[in-house]
């Protein structure tokens, strides 16, 4: 599942951050701010119009992400160890 599809207030963990083709640095920036495999992630709320941007808790930090950014992040269940 991708982060933008996650319902509000459900906690998952980051599985993978995909690269955006024409701007590969985006995925590194996401990693810098804490989107690293295994980190806990929750969607706290969505904006009024079209649910974009979303407010995300990653680890202990809170970030506003646009759907476009959230689409790059794959999430999985907390218990799922691989």
């Amino acid at each position: 599942m991708r982060l933008d599809q996650l319902s509000n207030n459900l906690t998952k963990k980051v599985k993978k951050v995909n690269a955006f083709e024409s701007m590969p640095e985006i995925s590194y920036q996401l990693a810098d701010i804490g989107f690293i495999p295994g980190e806990q992630v929750t969607v706290l709320r969505r904006n009024l119009f079209g649910g974009d941007p979303i407010m995300v808790r990653i680890g202990l930090s809170t970030f506003a992400l646009r759907k476009q950014e959230a689409e790059l992040i794959e999430v999985e269940d907390l218990v799922n160890h691989d």
Binding site: E25, A31, N47, L60, A64, Q68, E69
Partner: protein, 631 residues
């Protein structure tokens, strides 16, 4: 030909503060250095450089506040600067003798990764755990001794917002003698690894946190509660709107008293000078040129400070990025992201810091568009002009809910600028290609904090100094230059009109008045607009100088009001207001745009479109006003 620059650095030890954004680094910097700060730019780039001094008896330390970064991988301009300074590669910059790595105690998870990156720099380092008080309140107990062992670095704690919250940091810095040997002991040991990834660092950090029992995730309950109201899908935007409206009302009403005080002092000074000086050209220069000119501008310092006061509070409290979150959709509609909101809001104070703040926008197109529309945000330099015209032509009338007519007109002028900016951005969205369609937001919403009085006071003080320097430098120069142009050559013997009509300025003004006649500007306004190109607020002092030399004995802005009330129609006043919403009346902005975009293309586009918009807006306003009989 290339030259190798040789720099001579002050001999005092240089200490650099490194930390994540929102780690309270700048608060700590303010505590350590107090008001003794120098704000400038790094050589060649527009990243703000803040340096201060910390003095213990005869020991003086230079403290450098580096830009906040999430990593030391040089992706953004801020990160490049921080990296280069730490590596000793920044031009004109000495490699710091010691780094203070400032961490937010409530978010060690993310902040510790930066420590690992700093350690790899092989530079003497001390870790400062900031916001210890908040961490304790939230039940986060950090065993500093254990963390010292884990990181193999000395650690001190601090509370960035308390008066003596930097006590431990000061004590630690007092201890160090900054000799080569003792500094060498502070260089962290590193296992030699050729490459590392963020994931590797994250594993190391998680290991440390697990061993210290800090690996559970405890968010800030208060911030979450406040967000439930302030970011409520319905109430959030409403609260933001009310807040902005309140700020603009306050800018006008709160400033009344200090404004009167400044006016009275200028009058008093003018009287004294008039009594003392002999009746010759020097007297004319001092009274008509300097006192009339500068007094007219100084009067608006209170309003500028009130606006900055609110911007600083919103910034310090953590609300500002949330406002950007709320407005992201609207910005997206015109092809921008919420990231553009903070530069644009800063532009309400002054377009220059606003344009510099666009560096945080990683999308090149978004950044250029934000730069192009930044001058449409009503900057504080426009306030003197607006205040003069509104005060002279719009009656003060009270409506329900504490709404006041003059404040309302001001609010409308601000809205016009915003609306204009949105239309321009929307047009640019349609014109530019859609290939590069990623508009990153990725903006941190930090926990709410009570703003520290000290930080606000220092911020306001820096603004005051910048404004007074402008008044004393650029504005003083232009005022004197205009006085000269408006006073010479002397009128021919036997002439009947006021002397200024025969001067250089008079001739120029009459020439320009032909161009400006269709939008209702007389030749006095046309003259004043010329020096006003350099800085908007000069227009007020220029009008004062022009009218004062045109015969009517006036030496302050106060005396200008009845004169323009008699001389101008309401249509002219409204047209001039419309002109100032759009016109690029500021040389320094154009200069900064040229430096930021690295060429003449963008500044030229900016000048052209702004002048066109201004002329159109004034034309429509003037004609409409005449049509509705406001002549």
């Amino acid at each position: 030909m290339t030259e190798t620059a040789i720099h001579f650095f002050p001999k005092e030890p240089l200490i650099a503060l490194v930390g994540n954004p929102n780690s309270g680094k700048t608060s700590l910097f303010n505590l350590l250095t107090g008001g003794k700060q120098k704000v400038a730019n790094y050589a060649g780039v527009t990243v703000e450089r803040k340096e201060g001094k910390l003095v213990f008896g005869d020991k003086v330390l230079r403290i450098l506040d580096l830009p906040g970064v999430y990593s030391l991988y040089p992706r953004s301009l801020d990160e490049q600067i921080t990296c280069n300074v730490l590596l000793g590669r920044a031009s004109g910059e000495k490699r710091p003798d010691l780094v203070l790595c400032v961490l937010d105690a409530t978010n060690l998870r993310r902040n510790l990764r930066l420590v690992l990156a700093v350690k790899r720099m092989g530079i003497p380092c001390i870790v400062v755990i900031n916001m210890m008080d908040i961490a304790l309140k939230r039940g986060i107990h950090i065993d500093l001794k254990a963390l010292e062992t884990e990181l193999k670095l000395p650690i001190v704690e601090s509370v960035g917002i308390k008066t003596d919250g930097d006590f431990s940091v000061r004590e630690k810095l007092k201890e160090i003698d900054f000799s080569k040997n003792s500094l060498a002991q502070l260089i962290p040991e590193n296992e030699k690894v050729d490459s590392y990834t963020v994931e590797d660092d994250s594993k190391v950090v998680n290991g440390i946190l697990q061993r210290m029992g800090l690996d559970s995730v405890i968010p800030d309950p208060l911030s979450d509660k406040m967000d439930r109201v302030l970011l409520h899908p319905m109430f959030g935007p409403l609260i933001l709107l009310v807040l902005l409206f309140f700020i603009f009302q306050a800018v006008f009403t709160w400033a009344e008293l200090p404004k009167e005080l400044i006016e009275q002092s200028t009058d008093w000074l003018g009287q004294i000078v008039a009594d003392v000086l002999p009746n010759n050209w020097i007297k004319s220069l001092v009274i008509n040129g300097i006192i009339a000119g500068l007094g007219g501008v100084l009067v608006f310092l209170p309003q500028i400070l009130i606006l900055f006061f609110f911007i600083l509070i919103l910034e310090e409290s953590g609300y500002l990025p949330r406002a950007a979150y709320i407005l992201d959709r609207i910005m997206g509609f015109v092809g921008l992201s919420g990231r553009s909101f903070i530069p644009l809001l800063s532009s309400f104070a002054c377009a220059i810091p606003g344009i510099m703040a666009t560096r945080t926008i990683s999308n090149v197109r978004d950044r250029l568009v934000t730069i192009l529309i930044a001058p449409l945000m009503t900057c504080s330099a426009r306030l003197p002009v607006y205040a003069l015209l509104i005060g002279a032509f719009i009656p003060s009338r009270q409506f329900k809910f504490g709404i006041e007519l003059q404040g309302l007109v001001l609010f409308i002028l601000y809205l016009m600028g915003i609306l204009g900016a949105m239309i321009v951005a929307w047009v640019l969205k349609k014109l530019t290609n859609k290939k590069e369609s990623f508009h990153p937001l990725m903006m941190e919403l930090p926990n709410y904090h009570l703003p520290s009085i000290k930080n606000i006071a220092i911020g306001l003080w820096q603004r005051t100094v910048i404004f007074l320097k402008r008044v004393g430098g650029m504005i003083m120069f232009l005022t004197i230059a205009l006085w000269f142009l408006a006073s010479y050559p002397n009128p021919p013997i036997g002439s009947t009109g006021p002397a200024i009509e025969y001067s250089f300025a008079g001739m120029l003004g009459k020439l320009l008045a032909v161009v400006f006649a269709p939008i209702g500007f007389n030749w006095e306004i046309s003259i004043a607009l010329v020096p006003g190109l350099a800085a908007r607020e000069v227009v007020v002092s220029s009008l004062a100088t022009v009218y004062s030399l045109a015969g009517q004995a006036t030496n302050t802005e106060e005396a200008l009001v009845p004169l323009i009330q008699q001389g101008w129609t309401l249509a002219t006043a409204l047209s001039l207001l419309a002109w100032f919403v759009f016109a690029p009346q500021c040389l320094s902005t154009i200069a900064v745009v040229k430096r930021e975009t690295g060429g003449y293309k963008i500044p030229l586009i900016m000048l052209t479109y702004l002048f066109t918009l201004a002329y159109l807006a004034s034309f429509i306003t003037y004609r409409a006003a005449i049509f509705f009989g406001l002549n």
